[in-house]
């Protein structure tokens, strides 16, 4: 884990509230694994947002790191307004990422901003020769908030989309598409990876459990430190004996086996 000051190389608004930023940091890029994250802080002191914010690695290529985020509050707004050439403080790589061992067929599911960790995962799976067997299912509110489809089609993956209002692809939740994709064969090398809002993750967990398919979910929680010290980012989990415990999203996660996670309606 490193704490470094980096210079912003790119800052691009890619939809109404989605931004993609890029910077270079060799040490972190070399160690980063798909599903892991960085804590990022804008250096100009601001009394309304001092804490760093967690972001998944979206793409990592050579020394270059790209992050994708949605402007949801003061911290992300300030980050979206940071100019190319300004410095950011980043800490990472942090947390436990996706596993890419023993995968013969991968289904990647991203809902809204949950797409963020998937491009890096897709390129890692491609390096391991899984591109031809990769399906990417993306959900969004409306067509204009869909993004980064090229980063999957460029790898040769099949991409299917769903929108709440039907302006692109299937009209309805992205999990409808997952239901279709899971029909038929259930070989042991099939893995579903998903990131998105909690109702989506809950449905993904249920569908994969019903069909006995391996499933890894990336979850989100408010964090203060990002390194396991503050115990803020608690997430309810179930152990193999049925015991319920809080685990730290930043350290034991952000990627968990779907079977471990407890959802509100469980």
């Amino acid at each position: 884990m490193y704490c470094r000051h980096v210079k912003l190389v790119s800052n691009e608004r890619i939809s109404e509230t989605y931004y993609r930023i890029g910077f270079e940091c060799r040490e972190i890029a070399e160690k980063a694994r798909p599903g892991q994250f960085l804590m990022v802080r804008v250096l100009e002191p601001a009394w309304e947002h001092m804490l760093s914010r967690p972001f998944s690695f979206c793409e990592v290529s050579g020394d270059r790191i790209e992050l994708l985020f949605n402007v949801v509050g003061k911290g992300t707004r300030s980050l979206s307004e940071t100019r190319v050439g300004s410095s950011l403080e980043v800490i990472g790589p942090l947390g436990k990422g996706f596993s890419s061992e023993d995968v013969s067929r991968a289904i990647l599911v991203g809902g809204g901003m949950g797409i963020a960790p998937l491009p890096f995962l897709a390129s890692e799976l491609t390096k391991r020769g899984r591109a031809a067997m990769m399906t990417v299912l993306l959900g969004a509110r409306t067509a204009s908030s869909l993004c980064l489809q090229d980063s999957f089609t460029d790898l040769g993956a099949e991409v299917r989309v769903a929108t709440d209002d039907g302006t692109a692809g299937h009209r309805g939740p992205v999990t409808d598409l997952l239901g279709e994709s899971l029909k038929g064969a259930s070989d042991s090398g099939r893995v579903v990876y998903a990131c998105g809002p909690e109702p989506m993750l809950r449905t993904v967990a249920r569908l994969t459990r019903e069909r006995g398919v391996r499933c890894e979910l990336s979850v989100e929680e408010r964090m203060a430190c990002g390194v396991g010290a503050c115990m803020s980012c608690a997430c309810e989990t179930r152990d193999e004996h049925g015991g319920v415990h809080y685990q730290r999203v930043c350290t034991e996660g952000p990627v968990f086996n779907a079977a471990e996670l407890l959802f509100d309606e469980d």
Binding site: E48, M231, C233
Partner: protein, 302 residues
């Protein structure tokens, strides 16, 4: 130059510690900070049995600070000794264990377990956690309960006993005097202020535990005033904390009378904060030709 200070029988090479709850059990920041710059690590609060803590969300950022409602999630005293304590020996850093039992008996039992451990330098008795239903701040808000818990714990250990006081009281000087008279070797102040944040869309409290403890730069002037009042009225050393983010902040506490300081929330957004503050104090002493930190402590002109 002498930067060494003494808290009870604990010798701190530098007068800067890291505050309980902000530094886990020491190992989390190993890659991010030079531990030789800090005098001691105060652990996350320990209870006798493992504790799961409060439902999330557990943290929310506020103006120049944050509210937390962790609820003392910890692995329990025995697992702490077995799994977490060896780290301090391996890395030769003083370990002060924050003890947060919910009853007098539980605190005594935890302290007995810790008293047998060579690698525990001292005990910080947490009578000020605002996020638990039993114990915690309830001890620190009643002079009688405070006297009882401190004096019983005192009988259970010969290690340095530090009592961490709550600011959520009418008269912190009274509490400080009680804790001193009951046998504390030192006082830590302050813990967090009880606070609330509301989501205006859902009209619900943001934190799962409803209320939380306010920390960060927002509370520094109040912490400093409380340290000032207490230092005038007790003889035992005071460890000052509450919103310290820069060397200048720390020096203010030292001038006001704190023998040492602890850095808390600042570590979250600046992992190297405690080491940078420690260095900054040395630079200040050099620039002001102060040879012994004792000449700085309590030097407030008034």
């Amino acid at each position: 130059m002498k930067t060494e200070v003494k808290i009870g029988s604990i010798v701190l090479r530098r007068p800067v510690m890291v505050a309980s709850g902000t530094f886990g059990y020491g190992e989390e920041y190993l890659d991010l900070l030079d531990y030789s710059e800090i005098g001691a690590i105060v652990t996350k609060g320990i209870t006798l049995k493992p504790k799961e803590g409060n439902p999330p969300p557990r943290v929310v950022e506020t103006a120049a600070g944050m509210l937390n409602s962790i609820g003392l999630q910890n692995p329990g005293a025995e697992a702490f000794v077995r799994e977490k304590l060896p780290f301090f020996r391996e890395h030769r850093i003083s370990c002060i264990v924050n003890v947060a039992g919910s009853s007098v008996e539980e605190n005594v039992e935890i302290v007995r377990i810790l008293d047998a451990e060579e690698n525990v330098a001292g005990i910080e008795l947490n009578v000020s956690c605002p996020n638990v239903k039993k114990g915690g701040m309830a001890f620190g808000k009643s002079a009688e309960l405070l006297r009882e818990v401190v004096s019983e714990v005192r009988k259970a250990t010969r290690k340095t006993l530090i009592t961490k006081l709550s600011p959520n009281v009418t008269d912190i000087v009274e509490m400080a005097r009680v804790a001193e008279a009951a046998g504390s070797d030192a006082l830590s102040l302050i813990n967090t202020f009880a606070g609330l944040a509301v989501d205006i869309e859902t009209r619900k409290p943001i934190l799962g535990g409803v209320t939380g403890g306010l920390s960060g730069p927002a509370i520094k002037p109040v912490a400093l005033r409380m340290v000032w009042e207490v230092c005038k009225n007790v003889k035992v050393p005071v460890i000052g904390m509450g919103g310290i983010a820069t060397a200048g902040d720390a020096i203010e506490f030292l001038i006001t009378g704190a023998t040492a300081v602890a850095v808390g929330t600042a570590t979250f957004y600046h992992p190297n904060a405690a080491a940078a503050i420690s260095d900054g104090i040395v630079e200040y002493m050099e620039a002001h030709e102060i040879d012994d930190i004792a000449d700085l402590i309590g030097s407030l002109e008034s």
